[in-house]
């Protein structure tokens, strides 16, 4: 007789509230299930979490270091804090760094009003950036017939890389370079329009949190992303 695997449930606290989750869940999963909001950008339901943006950092009582909620497994009896002064300060700083690293001109951006970075900034009350802007000179790749890649708006969340690899199976996107010089590239840093691996499915465009990847021909503030396909595809492939 095959024994049913026992679902192991763990109980712990988030911001003083008692919560329970499956042993294979992350702190962020359980927080979301319980309606506790933890700011996040690189996380996307249906894709593997990689802890790239560091926005979801939380504190565990009794531990000195901070951990990213999207990658941290839960453990019995832990006490997670999501809104300490230290965290609020770091979140702001992370957002300021994201804005200062590239060229974000929300007013003329296709994603204005639908942008996760912008929403995040609004939610933490970020009205201005104190860190000096780097103003990098980055060229748009408009070689694809239907899509645009504007690295000026990219926050290196890696969602495009992941969705293309994990869901579409094409692995067109990758990261090139290190640190602030990192860029997402198609194939071997060739123009998107001549990529042989790209199937043109558009999933990367729709998971992209900002105006970095967009459809051609849309005007300012018109690029609302459609993401309902993700959980659906995920369950089809049996990914939990």
């Amino acid at each position: 007789m095959i024994e049913k695997p026992r679902i192991r449930v763990k109980t712990f606290k988030i911001d003083g509230i008692d919560v329970t989750g499956r042993a294979d869940q992350t702190v962020l999963d359980v927080a979301i299930e319980n309606g506790i909001d933890i700011p996040r950008l690189c996380y996307m339901e249906g894709l593997k979490s990689i802890g790239a943006c560091r926005l979801c950092l939380v504190e565990i009582e009794g531990q000195r270091g901070l951990i990213s909620a999207c990658t941290a497994r839960i453990s019995e009896g832990m006490s997670v804090l999501t809104k300490t002064d230290r965290l609020l300060k770091y979140r702001r700083q992370i957002l300021e760094l994201l804005f200062s690293e590239r060229n974000h001109q929300c007013a003329v951006c296709v994603s204005n009003g639908h942008c996760e970075l912008q929403n995040m900034a609004i939610s933490v009350g970020l009205t201005h950036v104190d860190i000096a802007y780097l103003n990098p000179k980055l060229n748009i790749d408009a070689s694809h017939r239907r899509f645009l890649n504007d690295p000026n708006r990219c926050i290196l969340c890696n969602r495009c890389v992941r969705v293309c690899d994990e869901i579409e199976g094409a692995h067109t996107w990758d990261l090139l370079g290190r640190g602030v010089d990192t860029r997402v590239v198609t194939d071997l840093d060739e123009h998107w329009g001549i990529s042989e691996s790209c199937t043109g499915c558009g999933k990367c465009v729709h998971v992209c949190p900002t105006g970095a990847l967009s459809e051609k021909g849309v005007s300012v503030a018109e690029m609302a992303k459609r993401r309902n396909f993700l959980p659906y595809l995920k369950s089809n492939r049996g990914i939990s």
Binding site: A107, N112, N139, D150, K216, G217, S219, V220
Partner: protein, 474 residues
């Protein structure tokens, strides 16, 4: 020789500086206005998707963003090789007219009427809209209401008042809702009445401004603007007409898309603004004026009943075209009436609520040119793109640039008449300011609505040594 420099210093980009040369006896020998505007903007657009141009260019200007959206979207239509659906074009017309109306109201009531109602020699502290509210409460209130009406129309149609994203390549993004249509139609009669009242007052007052009429850039130039196929006033589409100073139409039905064959652009020393001229006449003989005065001069009729009557009366001021730039004010008031009447006419057509308002296409041409009439005159956008749709070249001829040379001349005339280098009075400075304001240039200084432009006056002797500096409002 002494040199006076008037420098309206502003906090935002784009400011004008005026230099006045005096001889040893204090007489004005020369005057020039230097403009620093749109510097490098065209370069800045290179490499961006052409679809971004409407919002990018609208951002260059907080005063007439809708006009940039219109010309830019028309240039994009040409790149897409589409004609927006009829209703889409009509709705663009409505928002353009609303913009012109509110901009004219701003110029006339907020900026210029304190000069006209309280006098050019009134103390500068008094010449502002706040004082006007005290001395002429009805006029001030009506003016504020009129502008608010125009702004509200823009807001209702475009979503955001200052930079609406509603006008897009191919048409407009949302159809007109019946409640908004009804709301606009309801408000129009009252605003027409208000404008007629002030126009009647203005016509009576004209005789008190003879000196200003004589000196406010009152000189022969060409006039240029768009008219429709019937020779009537046209702000959205139409063809270019050029009239000379005696009223002869020297060119008609010129295609905006071929502007380069008849408009040249001279770059003048000391100025970042290009000075366009009518090519067949060469430079500087081809100097032309644009804007309300030019439009009313070149048009045979307005095409709406009340404005037509007023236009006929306006034209009877002189045998040829009206040459004094002082009458920009008069022309602005007539255009406000026209805008209100025309909006009403358009909104009363059957298909204005039609949901078919936007055409979609991919780029089918590598070049696009869009021309429309902005509050201050003809506005031209010209783009080229690469095969991926990224901008490789952009050229903008803005209305204020069109009037640049005429404005210079006006400053010279006024300075010569009113300025005495030995005793520079506030009244004289006010008139220098006012002649610029008559053109309503799209400089940031024209938005300093509180009665006075920030001015810096530099007196320099013949060795160019500064002997005196006068400032105000900085």
């Amino acid at each position: 020789m002494k040199k006076i420099t008037i420098d309206p210093v502003t906090r935002i980009e784009g400011h004008a500086k005026i230099t006045i040369d005096l001889d040893d006896s204090g007489k004005v020998t020369n005057a020039r206005m230097h403009v620093t505007q749109l510097r490098g903007f065209e370069k800045f657009c290179v490499g961006r998707p052409f679809t971004e141009m409407p919002s990018l260019t609208a951002r260059t200007c907080g005063i007439c963003p809708v006009s940039h959206l219109i010309s830019a979207s028309k240039a994009c239509d040409m790149i897409l090789a589409v004609k927006p659906p009829h209703t889409g074009r009509q709705l663009r017309r409505v928002i353009n007219l609303a913009q012109i109306m509110q901009s004219h109201a701003l110029n006339f009531f907020h900026l210029s009427s304190p000069d006209l109602l309280l006098g050019f020699d009134a103390p500068k502290e008094d010449r502002n809209i706040f004082n006007l509210i005290k001395t002429h409460p009805d006029i001030a209130r009506n003016g504020i209401g009129l502008r608010a009406f125009g702004q509200k129309i823009i807001e209702q149609l475009g979503g955001k008042r200052i930079h609406p994203g509603w006008i897009v390549p191919g048409g407009v993004s949302h159809k007109l809702e019946p409640e908004i249509k009804d709301w606009i139609l309801k408000g129009i009669p009252e605003q027409i009445k208000v404008t007629r009242d002030i126009l009647d007052w203005f016509k009576k007052e004209i005789k008190n401004f003879n000196e200003e009429i004589r000196t406010f850039a009152n000189y022969p130039t060409l006039f240029l603007g768009l008219v429709n196929d019937n020779g009537e006033l046209e702000h959205y589409d139409g063809k270019v007409r050029v009239m000379d100073h005696i009223g002869k139409i020297v060119a008609d039905k010129l295609d905006p898309r071929e502007y380069q064959s008849y408009i040249g652009e001279a770059v003048e020393e000391d100025s970042y603004l290009k000075s366009p001229f009518y090519k067949p006449f060469g430079y500087p003989n081809g100097v032309y004026r644009v804007g309300p005065l030019a439009r009313l001069n070149i048009a045979d009729r307005c095409g709406t009943p009340i404005a037509d009557e007023e236009h006929a009366e306006f034209k009877s001021l002189e045998r040829g075209p009206i040459l004094s730039s002082f009458f920009y004010h008069y022309a602005r008031l007539i255009e406000i009436i026209y805008c209100l009447e025309k909006i009403e006419m358009i909104l009363k057509t059957d298909d204005i609520l039609d949901p078919h308002i936007r055409s979609f296409a991919e780029p089918n041409r590598l070049e696009g040119i869009g021309m429309s009439e902005a509050p201050r005159g003809t506005l031209m956008h010209h783009y080229r793109i690469d095969e991926n749709g990224l901008i490789t070249f952009a050229n903008l001829i803005i209305a204020s640039g069109n009037n640049n040379l005429a404005m210079n001349h006006g400053v010279y005339q006024v300075a010569k008449h009113f300025i005495d280098g030995n005793n520079i009075t506030d009244g004289a400075l006010n008139r220098v300011e006012a002649v610029i304001r008559a053109f309503d240039p799209c400089l940031s200084c024209s938005t300093h609505a509180i009665g006075k432009m920030p001015l810096m006056l530099e007196l320099r002797d013949s060795n160019k040594k500064i002997v005196d500096i006068k400032t105000r409002g900085i």
